[in-house]
């Protein structure tokens, strides 16, 4: 049989050796695939063991790709498997590398990597099978250059971010308090970020009775003089990280300051400050943990979280001292004290703002972007991936489908819903023949670094952009070679003659991707918004084609639509079409990575600077799209 022969001889690449990856590797070898390469930058964690069945407890800390390979060889010694403990975004994996394969299958959990592999497969013209799972839901689809939509043809809703004043002044939901607590962690113990302040925002436009007032306040807080600007970390250091002083500043003094901005509380319930001494005097009415539930799932009282706050500050303070001068801690959801701190601080703030407090278990879910995961969903999706792979190898391309896995059958009794693949979007800014976009920004206020990191890398998925100005001279604005254009980084775009109507040519040579960027200058962008992509803005985009059910994956499952609270992680978020289940990587992951970790670390650092975008409406309509579900 011709198919059997091609199974034997073909070479396939599996990107990711986690939940889907383990199941996929198993299915591939049992089906008869012989030559498989698998890549994953991650190491094994105990929380993986409920579903990543190729790993056992003794493997915790080791490379996923490596252990997966070893486990598979045990039941299929004749398989030819190559494992890479590395990031697929490493430039070693160039077009030539991809061209070795007849098929690439993604088993990823983050958008940045998916975008990148999408482009590599387009560049090398290799079919790609894309997939994702979250909880009970899953999806598989096939991407083939020129024949189907690529992964980026349909804009996906971007990570939810919150305006600064909501975080700093007027939180209304627990998530706002959790984001605040993470910012606080970094301001006190980690890398300070000017974009992520925790103190009351005096320049909040909502607070001013008249606009001039707000402007005045904003100026005042920038100047030295009456109001001396001391960084949160400096202040904390000056008090020796005294938990009591910290507590009173954050939950009493700062709150009382907010109360003076009385316009904010006209229509909102005003926050209620806490006082350390008063809390100490309240009888502890906490129940002892009786072991019935998870200790983590208990919701403590104010006294409990106050104790937790004190304990965690003391522990983190010791960690800082141990690390020495100029030390910084990195947020890690699996670091008990870091998690304790965020849990305590977030809950105390929730209490101040009259919200029901949350258990550490729930806070961890939100703070760490944890997406629940089980073995069976991954098993189903990985089975579907291999079935699509067989169609591709058999050249039955017209049989390929997008398939959605639902939690419950739809009105037509379908649990698994196959849909026809869509043709490429002729305006796609990735796979169109000459991709072009228009970006609105302020040329006098946008620096070159922001163009590189927030626009080209984060928004447009480039990994190592080179940018030329189409000014007749071919002026080089950004070079992907380290150090070459570093001097340009902090200069404003206008300084290079960039103005309304300018065109920039951005290239990523690794991805074989050229994007023409038209610049529109605007001085009227909204607060906290650095740039806007014109015409293609996600909130204007049509909802992608979906099964009639639509509610779970296609429109974003609200239950799992946790807005990202990460500061370092890649653009993980809830995808419209493909589910991202990217958790905050624990710092141990990054340490364990090999030589090329510099590259990977660079990537993570770049993601640090999330673009400030206005909060988007996350609810595209259910029913608009024509659904082509096949029987």
């Amino acid at each position: 049989m011709a198919l059997a022969d091609s199974l034997f001889s073909c070479r396939v690449l599996v990107v990711g050796a986690g939940g889907i990856g383990c199941e996929l590797l198993k299915n591939l070898v049992l089906t008869g695939f012989k030559n498989i390469e698998v890549i994953d930058l991650d190491t094994i964690d105990v929380s993986n063991l409920n579903r990543q069945f190729l790993f056992q407890k003794k493997h915790v800390g080791k490379s996923k790709a490596q252990v997966a390979k070893e486990s598979v060889l045990r039941f299929c010694p004749s398989a030819n498997i190559t494992a890479y403990h590395d990031s697929i975004m490493n430039p070693d994996y160039n077009m030539e590398f991809f061209r070795n394969f007849q098929l690439v299958m993604n088993a990823l959990d983050n958008r940045a990597a998916r975008n990148h592999v999408n482009r590599m497969c387009l560049a090398a013209d290799i079919p790609l099978i894309e997939s994702g799972t979250a909880g009970y839901l899953g999806q598989v689809t096939v991407i083939k250059k020129g024949q189907t939509e690529c992964y980026e043809c349909q804009p996906k809703p971007t990570q939810k971010t919150f305006p600064g004043c909501t975080i700093r002044n007027t939180p209304s939901e627990p998530i706002h308090c959790i984001v605040w607590a993470k910012y606080l962690f970094n301001q006190l113990f980690g890398e300070e970020d000017a974009d992520r302040e925790v103190s009351p925002d005096t320049a909040d436009p909502e607070a001013a009775w008249n606009p001039a007032d707000a402007a005045a306040r904003a100026t005042a807080s920038d100047q030295d003089g009456d109001i001396k600007r001391v960084s949160t970390k400096e202040w904390a250091r000056s008090t020796g990280y005294d938990p009591v002083k910290l507590f009173n500043k954050l939950f009493k003094d700062d709150i009382m300051y907010l109360l003076t901005m009385d316009k904010l509380w006209k229509k909102r319930k005003a926050p209620l400050p806490l006082d350390w001494t008063e809390i100490q005097q309240i009888e502890s009415s906490q129940e002892e943990s009786c072991g019935m539930g998870l200790k983590d799932q208990q919701v403590l009282g104010v006294q409990g979280y106050t104790q937790l706050f004190r304990r965690s500050v003391e522990t983190l303070r010791s960690q800082l001292i141990e690390k020495g001068e100029g030390a910084e801690l990195v947020w890690d959801k699996d670091d008990p004290s870091a998690m304790d701190f965020v849990s305590a601080a977030a809950n105390l703030r929730m209490n101040v703002f009259s919200m029901n407090m949350k258990s550490r278990f729930d806070v961890k879910s939100m703070a760490g972007n944890i997406i629940p995961a089980i073995a069976t969903t991954n098993a189903v999706i990985a089975g579907l991936i291999v079935l699509e792979a067989l169609k591709i190898l058999n050249s039955d391309f017209d049989q390929c489908r997008t398939i959605f896995l639902n939690k419950q059958p739809n009105p037509r009794k379908k649990l698994l819903v196959p849909c026809a693949l869509d043709r490429p979007n002729s305006n796609c800014y990735v796979c169109a023949s000459k991709p072009e976009v228009t970006v609105k920004l302020n040329v006098h206020k946008t620096i070159v670094q922001a163009l590189q990191d927030k626009i080209l890398k984060e928004k447009f998925g480039m990994v190592a952009p080179d940018v030329q100005i189409e000014d007749g001279k071919g002026t080089i604005l950004i070079s992907s070679e380290e150090g070459e254009t570093e001097a340009n980084n902090n200069k404003f775009l206008s300084g290079f003659g960039i103005r309304n109507g300018s065109r920039l040519q951005a290239d990523d040579f690794l991805q074989d991707y050229t994007l023409l960027v038209n610049v529109i200058h605007s001085e009227e962008l909204e607060k906290d918004v650095e740039f806007e992509v014109v015409g293609d803005a996600p909130d204007k985009a049509p909802a992608p084609s979906a099964p009639e059910e639509g509610k779970n994956i296609a429109n974003g499952n609200k239950d799992s639509a946790q807005p990202s609270t990460s500061s370092k992680a890649a653009a993980e978020d809830d995808d419209v079409l493909i589910i991202d289940s990217d958790e905050e990587p624990s710092s141990s992951t990054m340490e364990a990575s090999p030589e090329s970790s510099n590259r990977k670390r660079k990537h993570h650092d770049a993601d640090d600077a999330a673009s400030k975008r206005k909060r988007l409406d996350q609810q595209p309509s259910d029913d608009d799209e024509d659904i082509i579900a096949l029987d």
């Binding site: 299915n27 939901e173 089975g383």
Partner: protein
């Protein structure tokens, strides 16, 4: 009407730190209570070929209390290549026995046992020690017998098989299966502290949910397979009936008559027999052979690994749901067509 959820089984109600760490990602999905119920459940799994191995893996990873692997057959090269639990040097050993070590390593917290007897030889009371029974590669008669004696004792019964690109799952959770569903809580406007200071009247609070108790009933396998297609109502529903239901009937008859499933080795002979049985079965039901075109034949040979993964995933999850009494179970068949990529849930039997 007091709807009784069975009390969580199990010797103790405490969840250890080790369990909490390992099961974290699934506890976050189905909750601690469901996990405890799983942890108190004993399951019998019959048949350790491709589908059986998938179900075993899924149940062991989920964290049931005990799983008994029952299979009387010996490992052959073919059967070894069909699944991932049997080591390469195990030819000639009992299939369940050969799968034991790897199965146990999937999760040391589960008690995995082996039984090498033929399921047909087991007395009735053998089955009563389990909370759920999952039958693969069994004859129709055996499945009907086991279903009958289990369902009355509130033992959940599941059947499943994979034939080439096709696969099915059947469940009988008894006359009264109780379960809970998690629904968003509708919050009434009040002055009390809420999840937000701006509580609106009747707002659905995305942060708070409530558990709703439900009951559902299932019919027996016998009833499900003996649907009368000659009456008008049944005839009119034929258009919406998946052909896979009839395919299953044909394959079960093949298995009964031949004592085995269609084999690639005897493709020509088996194809012919298959078509003949198809004609007989459909005629007996008063239906046309056109319901199952000849093309079906070539796609029913040998278990395909990816199809085992899909069916085993759905079947595994249905077992988890039934044992944990959480979320609406699929009722009462699931059919998977690997060629089309479609998976359908449908009910056959008395309503």
């Amino acid at each position: 009407l007091a709807l009784a959820l069975s009390r969580p089984r199990g010797e103790d109600n405490i969840i250890s730190e080790e369990e909490a760490a390992q099961y974290d990602r699934q506890i976050r999905l189905w909750g601690l209570d469901a996990q405890k119920r799983l942890r108190g459940s004993r399951v019998l799994l019959v048949g350790l070929r491709g589908l059986g191995a998938e179900v075993a893996k899924n149940l062991i990873l989920a964290g049931v209390k005990g799983l008994t692997l029952l299979d009387h057959e010996q490992v052959t090269e073919e059967s070894r290549r069909a699944q991932f639990l049997i080591p390469v040097d195990a030819d000639g050993q009992n299939q369940a026995q050969a799968s034991l070590e790897r199965a146990q390593l999937l999760n040391p917290m589960v008690e995995v046992k082996v039984d090498t007897d033929a399921v047909e030889s087991k007395p009735d009371d053998f089955f009563f020690q389990f909370d759920a029974v999952c039958l693969t590669r069994c004859s129709k008669d055996l499945m009907v017998r086991v279903d009958q004696l289990c369902a009355s004792r509130n033992i959940k019964v599941f059947c499943g098989d994979v034939y080439g690109y096709h696969g099915y799952m059947f469940s009988d959770l008894g006359q009264e299966h109780h379960y809970v569903e998690e629904k968003p809580k509708v919050v009434k406007g009040s002055n009390e502290a809420n999840d937000g200071p701006e509580a609106k009247k009747g707002k659905v609070d995305p942060n708070e949910t409530t558990m709703v108790k439900k009951t559902i009933s299932f019919c027996s396998l016998k009833e499900a397979l003996e649907v009368d297609w000659t009456n008008e109502k049944a005839k009119s529903s034929l258009k919406r009936t998946p052909a896979d239901y009839f395919l299953l009937q044909v394959l079960l008859k093949f298995r009964t008559d031949k004592g085995r499933d269609p084999q690639p080795d005897s493709f020509a002979e088996d194809s012919q027999l298959f078509l003949q049985i198809r004609d007989d079965v459909l005629e007996t039901m008063g239906l046309s052979s056109e319901l199952l075109p000849n093309t079906f034949v070539s796609y029913c040979f040998s278990e395909m690994a990816p199809v085992c993964a899909v069916v085993g995933g759905v079947l595994g999850q249905e077992l988890v749901k039934a044992l944990s009494q959480r979320d609406a179970p699929h009722r009462n068949f699931f059919f998977f067509d690997g060629l089309k990529g479609s998976g359908v849930v449908d009910y056959f039997g008395s309503k």
